[in-house]
């Protein structure tokens, strides 16, 4: 279920954060050696197509297997054409739902990633409505305090 849509900042300032490129921060050499090798802008990382990208907060546990938990913020790109295996924000009976899209042969279904839920099968004549493709998930373990 979707609890909120967010409007990403129209033209966010570039916030470049240095990235550690050494994967193993143990022993020698120091991970700080590569400290300034590259910088990361979170907006650029998460948003490929700004006018088509929306952020939504989700509730529910039907996608925990995919790493999406209640309260997470999803990055949704409306411009992408949904393909088999994509996680999508779909419309079922007028409501939003987040599921993994199965599109193989004649079977079209929206598959949850939690055994407690059933897949939503689309039958002949039923049109699959995808609002956007989920391209990212923002998970906060602790609110950054300001």
């Amino acid at each position: 279920m979707i609890t909120a849509f967010f409007c990403p900042d129209a033209s966010p300032p570039r916030l470049a954060i240095p990235v550690f490129t050494s994967l193993v921060p143990a022993g020698f050499p120091s991970p700080a050696d590569d400290y300034l090798e590259s910088v990361l802008d979170l907006n650029a990382l998460l948003i490929a197509d700004p006018p088509a990208t929306f952020m939504v907060r989700v509730t529910g546990d039907s996608m925990v297997g995919a790493g999406i938990g209640s309260g997470d913020i999803l990055v949704v790109d409306r411009g992408l054409t949904p393909a088999h295996g994509d996680i999508v924000l779909a419309i079922v009976d007028g409501d939003f739902t987040v599921k993994r899209l199965h599109k193989r042969g004649t079977r079209i279904a929206l598959i949850p990633e939690n055994k407690a839920y059933n897949a939503i099968e689309l039958h002949d004549g039923q049109e699959l409505q995808v609002w956007g493709v989920v391209t990212g998930c923002v998970k906060q373990f602790k609110q950054a305090s300001r």
Partner: protein, 432 residues
């Protein structure tokens, strides 16, 4: 020969709401003005029910309940964001773009072999990426593009895309004869009435009117409309005379500008010019748009078009209020390291002064501000435009001053004018 296209959002506010409410696909929606006073937008289904635009809500409340119409209070922050997204996508389809209002944009097209296919793909792109259905009208002039858009909306067979080129001259005339002259861009109600007394009732009548006669009886603006209807392009992008729906003040820089201070100075200047036009026609605006863009002809440069709409709590014609909003907008869209060619301010949601109901919880605008503006307009009328301006408005730091004899006169942007005196040497001194 370049072509113009006018792309606009269908029932824009209603479509914005529906983009986030999939349960309302195919259902009636109306959007009410601030304080839920009257209807400002209707979905196609609501129009089909016979709900008219700009009627007081109480008149249709019962009908809405009976037919299950979903009623929204206006959410200008949402419409501003969706407008920005829509304009950005539309802009990528044209060579040049002019954002004409919150939901309308002109673009120029050149060298496209299959216009129908191109326009259809443009519509599909906006619908998929932003979720707003649009209509595309194409013509050799802006006036014809606007009229083509009208045709695309009125006739379902057009499927949202129409170009005058697709008709034989004979059919073009037949269609023009079915369009009332008042539906032609730039022909207001009063001009339409006067044209009616001259026997000019349809777009075709106006197209065939004698331009010299029109110029004599009206003005050069209406004469230009006649030329434009005949396919002679007189209006370039962004070159539109102000009308009551929106006011644009923008200008290209002589040299590319990179720093935010020079842009801010230009934006303040444009905001004040736009606010002055607003006061001249006794109107107030609810939305202040700020735009900046790079030079699209310098293909090697990084290209960027920034556009944002800032809603005002109270509709205003106050230069300071409008400049503040425009500057806040500029700071949101400004990007470093880019060379800008143009900056501008667009005022939309324009209505007559003093008619709007006030927000109960926001502080009321200071009534004395109107007097300050009146003094400023009188001084400027007498001594030249831009002679008297708010502190921080362009003129000193690298931006062209319009006034012939620059006088160092400012009033404090946030202060209240208490007294004002003219000194012997012609300098105006204002004390706050």
């Amino acid at each position: 020969m370049p072509l113009f296209a006018l792309v606009d959002g269908n029932s824009f506010y209603a479509s914005c709401e529906r983009a986030f409410r999939p349960d309302l696909i195919g259902r009636s929606i109306v959007v009410l003005s601030n304080n839920d006073g009257c209807v400002v937008a209707r979905s196609a289904e609501a129009k089909a029910l016979g709900i008219k635009g700009f009627v007081p809500f109480f008149e249709i409340r019962e009908m809405c309940e009976r037919h299950g119409v979903t009623v929204f209070s206006s959410n200008y922050a949402l419409y501003g964001d969706m407008s920005r997204r829509m304009m950005q996508v539309i802009g990528s389809w044209g060579i040049e773009q002019e954002v004409y209002s919150v939901d309308e944009s002109f673009i120029t097209l050149d060298g496209i072999a299959d216009l129908k296919d191109y326009a259809t793909r443009l519509r599909a792109d906006v619908l998929q990426r932003v979720g707003i259905p649009t209509c595309v009208g194409i013509g050799p002039t802006k006036t014809l593009a606007k009229l083509a858009n009208h045709v695309g909306k009125k006739f379902p067979k057009a499927a949202g895309v129409f170009s005058w080129d697709w008709l034989t001259p004979e059919w073009r005339d037949k269609l023009m004869a079915r369009i009332e002259v008042g539906d032609v861009w730039g022909v207001g109600r009063r001009i339409a009435e006067k044209l009616g007394t001259m026997g000019i009732h349809t777009a075709l009548d106006l197209q065939r009117a004698d331009p010299r006669d029109i110029k004599r009886r009206f003005n050069v603006v209406v004469e230009r409309t006649v030329a434009e209807l005949n396919g002679i392009s007189c209006l370039a992008l962004e070159d539109v005379a102000p009308n009551r729906q929106q006011i644009i003040a923008s200008r290209s820089f002589a040299e590319l500008v990179g720093d935010v201070d020079t842009l801010a100075s230009a934006i303040s200047h444009h905001a004040c010019r736009a606010a002055e036009k607003l006061r001249q026609q006794q109107s107030e605006a609810r939305m202040v748009g700020a735009s900046v863009r790079t030079n699209p002809f310098r293909e090697r440069d990084a290209q960027y078009t920034g556009w944002i709409v800032v809603p005002l709590i109270h509709p205003s014609a106050d230069s300071t209020v409008i400049a503040h909003a425009a500057l806040a907008g500029l700071h949101a869209i400004y990007r470093e390291g880019i060379s800008y060619k143009k900056a501008g301010v667009v005022l939309t949601e324009i209505g007559p002064q003093g008619l709007e109901q006030r927000d109960l919880f926001a502080p009321l605008p200071d009534p004395r501000r109107a007097k300050v503006m009146a003094v400023m307009d009188r001084v400027n009328a007498e001594y030249g435009t831009g002679c008297l301006a708010g502190a921080g408005v362009g003129g000193l730091d690298g931006f062209q001053l319009l006034c012939g004899q620059p006088l160092p006169c400012f009033f404090c942007a946030h202060g209240v004018l208490i007294s004002c005196s003219f000194s012997a040497n012609g300098l105006l001194m204002l004390c706050s």
